[in-house]
């Protein structure tokens, strides 16, 4: 079934790294997109051979090009490629990989996958299958938190039964007890999939069925439960690392309050406005839950902060987070590298312990924006397509994690995240300035992305004032209005360009024929004659 492309790994990639032998000789990366690229880079830095897997939609994708070997999994739909546990494990066995890193999404939080990897005699780079069961299942995680005295968001602790009509009354009664508005959430969920807001009991059943169906489609598990909606709330999460000896540390927290449809848009570290005491308290709670669940490797404990400053435990993500980069920028720690070392059974590194010791008093500030193929003028509707122009920012304190280049097609089958633009600076204000500048440099054409939204955020006074909540986007962002303004400017710009041609030919009926000839401004040409060169010198700087 699996056809594979393989090249001999260069001998130098197997050299020893500074901390001793590479933790593994060969690692299979069970993911695609920017995270696969990020993981392959870490493998190569550590002197490990990286094996990619791909679907037919990704045959020439960046992660396939960068890897030392690549194995085809199947057709584009995830269920026929990246979600095929048997095919992924077989690919690892066929290529001699000793470990599999799942990245985020796809199989990253499936205990059945971790178990299959373990049973095949391979190492799963992430928490053990038992920990994923205990924490990845949100209901189980809520029960675990309660058992160690960490207060969770009020809600149910068992999955709702949907196929028995006689159970409906019981669900409605529980919902009344929790109070409306509440959220229907997928036990296996993440990223807002399978999640529905319910304002009144009449909507409950439809929301449960809908959420269950979406959860089934996204995760292969349709279990749903109820949770009170805390609003306005800030979303704050703690990055955790644990080793085989049972030691768990917190590397710091991130604020991910800017979301739409419960998907994060902007993340920053540290969370603004917390005292060192707040941080210590929060980190300690996160460590307590993770220790109880026997965390070995990386995970993130998510909390909601109510307007009165109280923290409520939300869930634990037993995987590398999309936004791990901001914690890396603030701590100077390479979390993926730590994951590989921990997976090989090594104790928490000196670097990780040092970072944890500084976690309550972080140095500097990092912000990440998630550039997605979505239309922020149409309620962030997906907008797949072909990327025609692609210029990413650079410069001091700017990090871009992406797998896209100009000419690539963004497939509709997968997550719409196309790049993570991160900035780091000495303090939050400087980081926002750096973000604004970086986003102004960013150029994309061919598809609509969330870039206009992020530029807006980087200029917004309430964002700068750290007046954050999970409802921020709905309260501050006027997508259609911003689009209309830009559309008017686009009309003007295109009209002026056409008029320029019409004035040169004397008649607009001879439209500038589509041609590829670049009208490059050259000295002595139209550029010079038009006086634009002087105009350029005169722009206000």
């Amino acid at each position: 079934m699996a056809t594979s492309r393989s090249e001999p790994a260069p001998a130098e990639s197997l050299r020893k790294d500074a901390h001793g032998d590479p933790p593994f000789r060969t690692v299979l990366i069970a993911n695609r997109g920017e995270i696969a690229v990020r993981l392959i880079r870490a493998c190569h830095e550590m002197g490990m051979v990286a094996v990619a897997v791909y679907s037919d939609a990704d045959a020439s994708a960046a992660h396939v090009r960068l890897a030392d070997r690549a194995v085809r999994l199947g057709p584009p739909p995830p269920t026929e490629s990246y979600l095929r546990i048997d095919a992924v494990v077989q690919a690892a066995l066929d290529t001699g990989a000793q470990a599999i890193h799942p990245g985020y999404g796809f199989l990253a939080e499936r205990a059945s996958f971790a178990r299959a990897v373990e049973e095949a005699g391979l190492v799963f780079v992430g928490p053990s299958s038992e920990t994923i069961d205990a924490l990845g299942d949100k209901l189980h995680a809520r029960r675990t938190a309660r058992s160690v005295g960490v207060e969770a968001v009020p809600g149910t602790l068992e999955p709702a039964v949907l196929d028995r009509p006689d159970h409906l009354d019981r669900i409605v009664a529980e919902a009344e007890r929790i109070g409306f508005p509440l959220l229907v959430k997928a036990a296996a969920g993440g990223g807002g999939r399978g999640m529905r807001r319910v304002a009144a009991s009449v909507e409950l059943h439809a929301a449960l069925v809908w959420g269950s169906r979406e959860a089934e489609s996204a995760f292969g598990d349709g279990s749903v439960y109820l949770e009170r909606e805390i609003s306005p709330a800030r979303h704050i999460e703690v990055q955790l690392l644990g080793d085989v000896r049972g030691r768990v540390v917190a590397l710091g927290e991130r604020d991910c309050s800017l979301q739409r449809r419960h998907q994060k848009l902007v993340e920053e570290a540290p969370a603004p406005g917390l005292t060192a005491e707040d941080r210590r308290d929060l980190h300690e709670r996160a460590v307590r839950v993770a220790t109880a669940a026997g965390l070995r490797n990386a995970a993130t404990a998510e909390f909601l902060r109510a307007p009165d400053g109280a923290f409520y435990f939300l869930e634990v993500n037993t995987r590398l987070q999309v936004e791990h980069g901001v914690t890396e920028l603030v701590t100077g720690l390479d979390i993926v590298r730590e994951q590989f070392l921990l997976a090989a059974g090594r104790p928490l590194s000196e670097a990780a312990l040092a970072a944890a010791a500084r976690a309550a008093e972080p140095a500097g500030h990092a912000i990440e924006v998630r550039l997605s193929a979505e239309d922020p003028g149409r309620d962030f509707a997906p907008s797949p397509g072909r990327v025609l122009r692609w210029t990413m920012p650079a410069g001091p304190g700017v990090r871009v994690d992406t797998a896209i280049s100009a000419g690539d097609r963004i497939p509709a089958e997968y997550d719409n995240l196309i790049a993570k633009i991160m900035v780091y600076a000495g303090n939050r204000d400087a980081a926002i300035d750096r973000l604004r500048t970086a986003l102004d440099e960013t150029e994309i054409a061919g598809i609509q992305t969330t870039l206009p939204f992020h530029r807006f955020v980087s200029r917004d006074a309430t964002f700068r004032a750290a007046d954050l909540s999970t409802g921020w986007v709905g309260e501050h962002w006027d997508g259609p209005g911003a689009y209309a303004q830009a559309a008017h400017s686009a009309q003007l710009a295109a009209g002026l360009a056409a008029l320029e041609a019409a004035m040169a030919s004397g008649d607009a009926n001879v439209p500038a024929t589509p041609s590829r000839t670049p009208t490059r401004p050259t000295r002595g040409g139209r550029w010079h004659a038009s006086g634009l060169e002087r105009a350029q010198d005169r722009w206000p700087r």
Binding site: G377, P382, A445, P480, S489, A493, D507, A508, P514, A535
Partner: protein, 212 residues
């Protein structure tokens, strides 16, 4: 200092009955970008090329200048009261599909927004409008086609031909990028035809349902 920059191109919006300059152009939003209700813009060369004031008919004075930075990048200057300055990306033109070769379609990127516009000679647009009016406005009362606005896979269809639907009623669900998107009836009516079924892949612009 040196002589002021040439007032490259000025803008006149609308028409005051004066004969159109043969060089005038008309820019409208392409159907794919026509979410903002913006009227087509008619641009004429400045009357006195030495003075940077546009002849304006409606909507107040609009004055704009395009300064090219390279073959695609440009600066749009002074389009707002505060003399705003916007970076724009003008992609090479292509002929608009379904039109004769006199209409040219551009993708323009302004402030991160991707906008598709159609450009043609203003005089030609006037003739076309006249011809269309001549044919009479027969449409409007006919069946309305509901088309896909995102590509994806149809998950479920909850309406059948012959069903009476009310505005806002869910008609079908399209899944794209793992998100389920509900498509609702834009207005009251009778389902005349359901053009897709569950499991089918749809592209932007595909007819999904026809409401009479």
């Amino acid at each position: 200092m040196s002589t002021p920059p040439r007032p490259d191109l000025a803008v006149a919006g609308g028409s005051d009955g004066r004969p159109l300059d043969p060089r005038a152009v008309r820019v409208s939003l392409a159907p794919s970008s026509a979410r903002a209700a913006l009227a087509p813009l008619v641009l004429e060369p400045p009357e006195f090329p030495a003075v940077a004031v546009a002849r304006v008919v409606d909507g107040g004075p609009v004055e704009a200048r395009l300064v090219r930075l390279d073959h695609e990048r440009a600066l749009l200057l002074g389009t707002g009261p505060d003399g705003a300055r916007e970076r724009v990306l003008l992609l090479p033109p292509a002929h608009a599909p379904g039109t004769d070769r006199s209409v040219v379609r551009h993708e323009v990127v302004v402030n991160g927004w991707r906008v598709e516009v159609e450009v043609e000679a203003a005089a030609r647009a006037v003739l076309r409008e006249r011809a269309r009016r001549g044919r009479g406005v027969a449409g409007q009362s006919g069946p309305i086609e509901v088309r896909a606005i995102i590509p994806g896979v149809v998950v479920s269809v909850s309406a059948m031909a012959g069903d009476a639907v009310t505005a806002g009623q869910q008609l079908l669900v399209v899944e794209a990028m793992k998100m389920q998107n509900e498509l609702r009836a834009p207005w009251d009516g009778m389902i005349e035809r359901v053009a897709v079924g569950p499991g089918e892949t749809v592209e932007v612009g595909d007819v999904l349902i026809v409401i009479a």
